[in-house]
């Protein structure tokens, strides 16, 4: 294993609210090797997007980030504003949620690339832009179009081209295909995977579609109420999930092979301002015992690179 390109430890994001502090991300840690693909899954409000925004240091007050983020050995939280600006997109880029609407509607695609290059002191010639567009499967003529002239899939490809333009070491992609139709979604995901491999970047992919994740990422992280409750090699996690929440999430996946065999997860996630003591999942967990109501379970190693934060992870 080569040295990790990104190392996250004890990452927390707190928001001050009228009801008291809300812990949106709670003690999240992971490390990624070059070229590695990590998928983060979880319900809405589980802290997936906030984690990714925290990695880019894009949490605004009243939100506060704690913990350590090492990007290629540099402490992201200690960077000056100027250093951070230079690192963004050059070393770590973001394909934001709803990337399709993140393009500037009044600028031609060419200008959006030019802006990015100019911000990093680089010149943008037509060849370079055409090469980037070709890389994501778009004709060079797209450079002269405005965003509204492109289909959703094409806009998403432009966003991917922007994210890889400066060959970053880490790409963060927040639901990059969720607004697209399934056929286009598969094509765009294929392109994202190919260019990510070509430039050798690690990727953190956020998604709510676990089935899609299962086929794209090397490792998967399951988030619940701000915590990473299980991480591990994707096949190991799907074959033998060790956290009850992961097990229920996988059981809730409908498939095209078997009818009516999927189950729901009763209950709702806890409020971030009023979390239950002990394990955050205890209010919905079918296997919860007295200990789960008082004692928060630490992450336990249950296999090679496979951890689960459950008191009974070994027994599962």
């Amino acid at each position: 294993m080569s040295a990790p390109v990104i190392e996250v430890a004890g990452l927390s994001v707190r928001y001050r609210t009228a009801k008291g502090p809300a812990l949106a991300v709670d003690d999240v840690g992971f490390a990624l090797s070059p070229g590695e693909r990590l998928g983060l899954v979880g319900e809405s409000g589980s802290g997936k997007s906030t984690t990714v925004l925290a990695l880019m240091r894009m949490i605004k007050p009243p939100g506060a980030i704690d913990g350590r983020i090492l990007l290629e050995g540099r402490d992201v939280l200690a960077l000056s504003e100027e250093e951070l600006r230079r690192a963004r997109f050059a070393r770590m880029s973001l394909v934001p949620q709803g990337a399709m609407s993140s393009l500037n509607p009044v600028l031609r695609i060419r200008s959006q690339f030019a802006d990015l290059f100019a911000a990093h002191g680089e010149r943008a010639d037509g060849h370079r832009i055409a090469a980037l567009l070709a890389r994501v499967g778009l004709p060079a003529g797209v450079a002269d179009r405005h965003p509204h002239e492109l289909s959703g899939g094409m806009k998403q490809r432009v966003c991917i081209a922007l994210a890889i333009a400066l060959t970053p070491a880490v790409i963060l992609a927040d639901e990059p295909t969720s607004a697209l139709d399934v056929v286009v979604q598969k094509q765009v995901l294929a392109t994202l995977g190919r260019v990510q491999q070509e430039i050798g970047a690690a990727i953190v992919l956020i998604g709510h579609d676990m089935a899609l994740m299962a086929h794209f990422v090397d490792r998967i992280g399951v988030m619940y109420a701000g915590r990473l409750v299980e991480t591990g090699p994707v096949k190991a996690v799907f074959r033998a999930p060790r956290h009850p929440y992961t097990r229920m999430l996988i059981g809730a996946l409908p498939s095209l092979t078997e009818r009516r065999a999927f189950q729901g997860i009763p209950g709702v996630p806890p409020s971030l301002t009023d979390r239950p003591p002990g394990c955050p999942f205890q209010t919905r967990c079918p296997a919860a015992e007295a200990r789960c109501r008082t004692e928060a379970p630490p992450a336990r190693t249950v296999g090679p690179g496979h951890e689960a934060a459950c008191h009974f992870a070994e027994a599962a």
């Binding site: 319900e43 809405s44 499967g137 004709p139 289909s151 899939g153 094409m154 139709d181 399934v182 056929v183 286009v184 979604q185 598969k186 094509q187 995901l189 294929a190 392109t191 995977g193 190919r194 709510h208 676990m210 089935a211 899609l212 299962a214 086929h215 794209f216 994707v234 096949k235 799907f238 229920m248 999430l249 996988i250 809730a252 996946l253 409908p254 498939s255 095209l256 092979t257 009818r259 009516r260 999927f262 189950q263 729901g264 997860i265 009763p266 709702v268």
Partner: protein, 331 residues
């Protein structure tokens, strides 16, 4: 619901229904949102029909036609054999009561200033179903229990105090209060988390099995359609491209678009192959215009003949219709 399922005989049909939107000076620009849509739901036996399509495929237009929110520009939509646009007052009132809808966004359908009770009492009042508040309350409590909500934890709350899944179930309960024959559910789970999705889908299944209600389940998600529906209608760019028994359509898609749709869906088992590399960019297309079959520009089987006109929706097997000149082999 108690006892044997009551007989619910209302049948809702769209027959070659189409909608053309006109815009520009004197309506010179015409855009066909839906062409020749045929669908039948309800009648003798409760069924769930899934209408599957991507954004812009005409799902919403078809839903609006079936609810009578919009009149078709060609063909017709009929309930109990009567054209919706020619119904008398009594017929219209029966239609409004017997055909109910559940919409996509469980956040927008509630008035945030009223408790959810308001959304439940109002239809009972408008249709004069309950004579007094106690009777109304009893009906409401029963409807909430049918959808798996505890009345004590639901009534008296404001919409923002309920989760998306709870709100969506309140809307299903509201539809149930009117004792409907048919429910149109337009993307009822697309804004709900995975953990609650199956709970709601199971509620819909129970309505069919226990209450004998027929459902139109409109969705972009073929997987959930497969989970709940008996038959499926696949829409593409305003045309019905394939219809049939859901098991048959998923196992042996005959229209190339349905095939592409099935292939684009990954199995939740990472060991089942799902080839990403084989699908890379085909948005460039075949170069054929969409003058005939709307799928011709993207279709791997398209030929020049496909551009001549919209192919007919032909019955190629009993109960199976495909709008394609070169359907996939049955094997």
């Amino acid at each position: 619901m108690t006892g044997a399922a009551p007989r619910r005989t209302g049948r809702l049909e769209a027959i070659d229904a189409g909608v053309v939107f006109r815009s520009g000076f004197g309506g010179r620009t015409a855009k066909a949102a839906l062409k020749d849509a045929t669908l039948s739901i309800g009648g003798d036996r409760p069924t769930i029909v899934a209408v599957v399509g991507e954004s812009g495929s005409g799902k919403t237009t078809l839903t609006r036609l079936l609810l009578g929110f919009q009149a078709p520009t060609t063909g017709k939509v009929a309930y109990r054999g009567v054209d919706l646009t020619r119904m008398d007052g009594a017929g219209r009132r029966a239609f409004r009561r017997e055909v109910q809808a559940v919409f996509q966004d469980p956040f927008e359908v509630f008035n945030p200033f009223y408790r959810v009770d308001h959304a439940l009492f109002t239809p009972l009042k408008s249709f004069r179903i309950a004579d007094d508040r106690a009777t109304a309350l009893a009906l409401i409590e029963r409807a909430l229990e049918t959808v798996g909500l505890r009345p004590g934890e639901t009534l008296g709350r404001y919409p923002h105090q309920l989760s998306g899944g709870q709100r969506q179930r309140v809307m299903i309960a509201r539809a149930l209060l009117l004792d409907p024959h048919i429910i149109l559910a337009d993307e009822p789970v697309s804004m709900v988390d995975a953990s609650l999705r199956s709970t709601i889908l199971q509620t819909l299944l129970r309505l069919k099995d226990e209450a004998g209600i027929s459902l139109v389940y409109v969705t972009h998600d073929l997987t959930t359609a497969y989970q709940v529906a008996d038959s499926v209608v696949v829409l593409y760019a305003g045309s019905v491209v394939e219809t049939g028994d859901v098991e048959a359509v998923i196992r042996r898609p005959r229209h190339p678009y349905t095939r592409a749709l099935v292939d684009a869906i990954p199995s939740p088992d990472p060991d089942v192959p799902w080839d990403l590399s084989a699908t890379e960019p085909t948005e460039a297309g075949t170069g054929l215009p969409a003058t005939g079959c709307p799928f011709a520009p993207r279709c791997p089987r398209a030929a020049v003949a496909c551009t001549a006109g919209l192919p007919p929706l032909a019955e190629i097997d009993p109960g199976r219709r495909v709008r394609c000149l070169f359907p996939m082999e049955a094997a």
